[in-house]
Each structure stands twice: as C-alpha cells, then as structure tokens.
Point group: C2
Chain length 253, copies 2
C-alpha cells in the first residue's frame, strides 16, 4: 500500500524536467532492479514491489538504507510506464560521470554526436559494454541518459559503462594526440584499415556527423557495402555495433 503522494512523486519522474530537478530516475522490472541492487555505482533509494519480490530481497539489503514498499497490481500499473509492469519499480539517484583522461589515452572511446533516439542510445551503451569501450562521451544534445527507454534498451549496461555529457569543443583539448575515427561515406575501408585505440565519432541518425566535428576527424572510415547502388546507410546503432566489433577484432585477435 502506498500513499497518493508517493504515486504522484513517482509519476512526476516520468518527465525529464522532474528527473533533472530531483536528480532521481526510475527503473523497472525484476532483472534490471536485481542488477541495480547488486552493484555499488548507483544508490537505490526506494523499491516498490510485490510481496514476493520483497520477501526475496529485503533481508539481504537491511543494512543499506533502501526503503521497501509493497504494492499490488493496480498500484504498480499507476506508477509504471510499461503496459505490462513486471513486479517492481525502483527510484535511484542520478550519478554524473566525469571525463576520464587516462581512458582517452589508453582505450577505445565513443563520442556520440546528437544521438536522439533513446532506443539507439541505450543499445549503443549495451554494445560499448560488450566490446569493452573505455567511456562514452555524449554531446549535450544527445537524448537524456535517464530516459526510461534508454535504461530499458541498455539492459543494465549503464551500471558498468561511464557515460559523460560534454560538448566536442570542450573535449577537443584532450584529443590532440589520439586518432579520431569517424564513419563517413568516403572513408577508408574499415576492414583493411589498421585500427588503434582512440575515439570513434558516431553521427546523428538523420544528419550524420556535424560539420565542425567532421573537420576534426583524422581517420575517416567506411563500412563497405556489398551493393553498388540501393542501400544508402545503416542505422546509427548498427553502424556503431559493426565498428566496435571490428576494433575489438583487430585489437584482440
């Protein structure tokens, strides 16, 4: 049983404005919430869940200051954003990562130039986590990290993957001696290029990489198509998956 005020408070977190003002966000579903419970990066403050879920987890977390509230199906429907809510919803404190300068020098990094689709951003975080990308730097116009669709598509990868929001011009001083890769139509064949640690720039879904960033690319690359005519491009997240896979292959095998 939860109060009307609690319901209002949670529903408010469905909007970006309220998430930013309170510096909180919500996550949903047994699997994602279990992942958040067993990690140390993010602080979970409140869990709203069915009796069964609470029984299973409450004793383990009695030392942490997590509040547990039992809810029934009707209450869960009211606070959830999903058409078929999955047992539990949690409130978590936002955490804002800072740029890690060592990782810029030593690993493969991603810069996302205005990725707007939350599904794409979440999927890219999941891909980056899979392939051991050092950190993701998002331009300020990228979609918000704590959008529920981003969290759902990332499948818990945001627990492990540092995601920094920073304009390219602020990032630029840190990139002076490292390769800056960008996927463009007239770049070098990615399969036959020699790839090394650096930063990979992924462009906006509709407009590609913005003009002022295009000039900064030192290593233009292309995923070659089998077709000479017809298909024009790959979706941003798929292009990112292929590029990260090829970096991983060349640097590891």
């Amino acid at each position: 049983m939860i109060s009307k005020n609690q319901i209002k408070h949670i529903q408010a977190l469905h909007s970006k404005k309220n998430r930013e003002e309170s510096s909180l966000f919500i996550i949903e579903g047994v699997k994602l919430i279990e992942e958040f419970l067993y990690q140390t990066k993010f602080e979970v403050t409140d869990i709203f869940a069915t009796e069964e879920f609470i029984k299973k987890h409450k004793s383990t977390f009695s030392s942490k200051s997590i509040r547990f509230f039992e809810v029934n199906d009707d209450e869960l429907k009211k606070i959830s954003l999903q058409s078929t809510p999955n047992e539990t919803l949690a409130i978590v404190k936002q955490k804002h990562d800072n740029l890690n300068e060592n990782l810029i020098q030593s690993s493969v990094n991603l810069f996302l130039d205005d990725i707007r689709d939350p599904g794409n951003l979440g999927t890219i975080i999941r891909i980056a986590d899979w392939f051991g990308i050092g950190q993701i730097i998002c331009s300020p116009n990228c979609t918000e990290l704590y959008n529920p669709k981003v969290l759902q598509a990332s499948m818990g990868a945001i627990i492990r993957m540092p995601v920094v929001y920073m304009a390219f011009k602020e990032l630029k001083p840190f990139l002076q001696s490292i390769p800056k890769y960008g996927a463009v139509l007239t770049g070098q064949n990615i399969y036959t290029s020699t790839l090394s640690p650096g930063i990979i720039i992924i462009g906006n879904e509709a407009k590609g990489i913005s003009q002022e960033i295009l000039y900064e690319i030192t290593h233009p690359i292309t995923i070659p198509s089998a077709q000479s005519n017809g298909s024009e491009s790959l979706n941003a997240a798929n292009a990112c998956a292929i590029i990260c896979s090829e970096f991983h292959r060349q640097l590891t095998y």
Copy 2:
C-alpha cells in the same frame, strides 16, 4: 480531396488482418514512396499526396496505372499512422517471395527464428541489403513484413531483399549440404572461424534460437565479449549486423 470511403479503406490497412485479406499495404513519406515509384518489384496502386508532390511525379508515371489523389494536411493526418505525416502515403500490392534454391547454395542467407519486434525485422532487412545477403527466410511467427514499423525501419530495403516466410522444417531439405551457423554462447569465436556461404540463424529477442533448430546448427559461433562478467547479450539486430559484417569481411577482403 478524398472521400469518406477512401479514408475508411486506408485506415483499414492500419490493421494486419485487413492487410492480409486485401493483400495490400501502405507506405508513407516522400523518400520511401519515391523509392517505390522508381522500382519494378512492387505495384503501387494509389498515391495520396500534397499538390507539390503530385506535380513533381504525376507526369512521369502517367503510363503506369497509378491513381493520384490530392490531399490536404487534415486528410493526410486522418489516413497516416505517423504523428507528423510527411507529404504522402501510398497503397501498394503485397508480393510474396518464394524460396530461391540457387541462392541457398551460392550465397549467405539469413533465417530469422521468431523475430517479433518490427523495428528489429526492418533493421535486419536493411543490414542484409547492405551486406549483400542472398535472401531472408522468416519463420511463420516472425512479425509481419508489411507492418508499417517494419517498412519504416527497412528504409526501402524490402524492394531489393527477397524475404520468404517458411517454417524451418520445410526449409531443412534444402540445407543438407550447406553450413548452418547459429550464434550461441558457447560457439567458436566468429573472428577466428573460417566463414563460408551458408545460412545464419538469428534467434528470438528473448528466447534465442529454439531447441529444435539448435540441433541443426553445424557451425555454432559466438561474438566474443571484452568482459568476462556483466553484459550478457547483444540485441538481435546488432548481433545480426556484426555477424553479417564479419561474413562480408572474410568473404570479400
């Protein structure tokens, strides 16, 4: 100006049942419709568009039996499935591809085992088109090819890519002498395997490859992760993108 009956007829095509009964489907947006106008696989029967779009295209297609209807913004909103309709909507006749036995033997093919998300199916068709996949075979439980979200995500790739619906057990007799690849957790490292033409099996988003098809895989493959713990899997469309990319790399470069 279009009639109430026309509006009703088009709105009916928003549902799968009516699309199947009439063997018609709808596409939307200037870019996609221009692609459909300049191809020969599918027959476009009716175009509903703004005055400007009709002026630009009607004379070119006067020899074809395409009917053009001018619509205003209000009418377009009524017939469209999009929140911001883009100038034009067209009705097209469905076309059902048959299995091409030669392509099974000579090219890289995809078998999709119950891909349910229309965005994933559309994206996979776009990836397959990009990398020159011979044909896609969808299990009967895959999402419907003519779902508007599939068409939107495929970005016109369905014009070029044959997509056949067929159960695996019907397909099996044609696969006797060809390699059957499937992405599983304990397969061979895809980067260090030697890949050759054959069929790649992509599993359902939640359940992976079904049990009876798992037994048929002759070449289990894995996209190795950089992490030893943590991330569990990649999204089906991203995994497909990476696998098709690696086939393309090994067979072409």
